[in-house]
Symmetry: C2
Subunit: 289 residues, 2 copies
Amino acid sequence: MDHKTYVQNTQNLTDKLLDKYIPSDQSEPALLHEAMRYSVMAGGKRLRPVLAKATYDYCGGDEASAVSSIHKAMAALEMVHTYSLIHDDLPCMDDDDLRRGIPTCHKKFGVAVATLAGDALHVIAFQLMAETGSSQVVLELAQAVGTSGMLGGQMADIEAEGKVVSAEEVRNIHIKKTGALIRGAVRIGALLAETPGDTLKRLTHYGEMIGLAFQIIDDILDIEGDQKLLGKSPGSDSKNRKATYPGVIGVEAARKEANRLIDEALSVFNSEDDSALQYLARYIGQREH
Amino acid sequence: MDHKTYVQNTQNLTDKLLDKYIPSDQSEPALLHEAMRYSVMAGGKRLRPVLAKATYDYCGGDEASAVSSIHKAMAALEMVHTYSLIHDDLPCMDDDDLRRGIPTCHKKFGVAVATLAGDALHVIAFQLMAETGSSQVVLELAQAVGTSGMLGGQMADIEAEGKVVSAEEVRNIHIKKTGALIRGAVRIGALLAETPGDTLKRLTHYGEMIGLAFQIIDDILDIEGDQKLLGKSPGSDSKNRKATYPGVIGVEAARKEANRLIDEALSVFNSEDDSALQYLARYIGQREH
């Protein structure tokens, strides 16, 4: 199977897992389950679950136990990501109307239901991680999402709005806000495959590099992008006076930095490696939405 | 030590644990940590951690390993409870100005920071539960908080606002919204003490009964209570047209039902038992704030 097919299959698998693990909108509380499904099933690249699975497979993770370990972690990672988007889109935060090409959760269901839908995805994510039986991956998720990770980045992002920030400060916001969960996805895949420490260390570096590159390219696309491909309004960062890489160092230098990070991510692999992880790093470097 | 002193000591221990496990407001993101501390350290009865510890001790939980197990669970339970209060108080939900006698988190820090502070307490709670090394208590917390528990109750509560509801519907809301986490606190204390199944079953019933009684009395106090003792505006339930027990069956019948539930909670103990759990059940039955 070529890498492109592998990634598509894994995206499809993720969709099936999400459908399996989010309670039915026929069961109570039906409206809450409907709101959770609405945001999660709206699509997206499923990057974090795909990275987790590709890492698991790269590390020779056991195929027989995948259903009770990496599959649950994949669904959990996408749920946490979606919860963060739902809360980020709220009127008190970025106040966005569009996400993944459709109205944001609060536009469709109201702010109260959207707040609870985010909270509920957050809980199920931890539940699924715990169901793998590994307390270590629960801790890994908590670290990625907590105040030294994603939530710390969201907070710093809010505090930086409208202020003059340095490239170093933007870098720190991006590493936490976007990078921590991407790094966490890679590490969780490696931990569930019981990877030895030296490989875990290499892959952690890979995760950190692609995580930062991903957000820099997101910033560039926000300036240059096409609404139809992006699924959200381009220019929303500058509307919200967000701290961005191209805003601080310019588009050209930002693109160069992203390329450098992708190269560094690729450098952790051995010369004989030809894995989906390398394909994904190149994909992130070249993506247009 | 008499039961009253035991409860006071355990409340004080809870305060120390919360101070220990919430990151310092001197560390970044400082404002987020400050908001988390503001809401958590505002006081409160610490009922859930006290119940968890009293259950752990009733079940003969190991004193030596308490620091790495029940102590972490105690802090986690209070953090989850506080997160639910912060999100419940938001303008999109109950829109309350006062909590525990001081301005609500969003009144003090704004809606964005309050939303993130709730999210962050939610994460640390799961982190601490995972640090006990028991995936089982992580699952127990997730079940108590998820859409078949607390969040399901919050959702049903919103949907019932302004509608005519039956006593059965109010009961179902209360069992989920308040009861599930109180039940979970008792079960987590028992599980960490490695209690055998029959005792766990008895204590689960105790937790269910006091959880429902607690919310019924909360409803009564909301009608009859004194703002100074309650720490929040009395009458806010009727202002928000909430589904309440006294609203449906009257104050007198509600009081009688609470007494019946407390008696049933007490019935799970053996005749020779004289534990803090029994004291707490009686305390819940008689509390005035």
